[in-house]
Symmetry: C2
Subunit: 157 residues, 2 copies
Amino acid sequence: MATEHSQDSQPLYLEDLAPGQRFTSGTCLVDDAAIKAFAAQFDPQPFHLDPQVARDTLFQGLVASGWHTAALTMRLLVTGGLKLAGGLIGTGATISWPEPTRPGDVLRVETELVEVKPSRSRADRGTATFRCTTLNQRDEVVQTFTGTLLVWRRPRP
Amino acid sequence: MATEHSQDSQPLYLEDLAPGQRFTSGTCLVDDAAIKAFAAQFDPQPFHLDPQVARDTLFQGLVASGWHTAALTMRLLVTGGLKLAGGLIGTGATISWPEPTRPGDVLRVETELVEVKPSRSRADRGTATFRCTTLNQRDEVVQTFTGTLLVWRRPRP
């Protein structure tokens, strides 16, 4: 299925959504300094902080915290990768990191809409489940994220 | 079951782990400025950036990005909440945010070991599944996170 929505499209309401729709984000370069800065604040482990020490770990080099990859994925979604009216409000998700993000990687997020559910009890909203795949410039998957988001119905005029 | 491990304990190997073990992190204050700074970088949505605008949203006030809560949870785990030999290396997880983190919240993480699995193919390692619950000062759950981590066996002398 072709990409139906780009960064320039209008924010979407529940009525606009159907399983199978795809969305593509912009891109984001991850450099050495950003990896270390995030790690210093949130995930201070040697393989995220020190390229020399990281060489002798499982990763064989500096890698980004998985939470850094997750946060960058969110930025790519919020800044155009998935435009929902009222914003992106998630209640829960499954996440995995098949490959680490490394310095110099350029990430993008490809999203597919899996399921749409109108709320049974509240007429103004529903939920939608999206499968967001974060890839690097070599098309390696650095994160899969399947999340359920709140989606608003279009207000009546 | 009583808390068996505190921030001062030795890093743990696979042999040290058994389902039911519990671990408690230190605490971490989340202020207004930190919420906005994280959001500006990774989740630039009005309810994470502007208290005035946030008042008229679902959240009725400024709230932290769920990814900020996740990143702070990781910091609490890495800085003493869960000391595994070789560090905390996760492959995947499920995550949910039952309540948002708000300015002034003091977070802590309570972790329970759910399952331990020696690797079938690699003699030096295994995996362990941990259920990490992030709570605020009112004991409200702001995040649940069940993650599978790589765990090393103790090297033979």
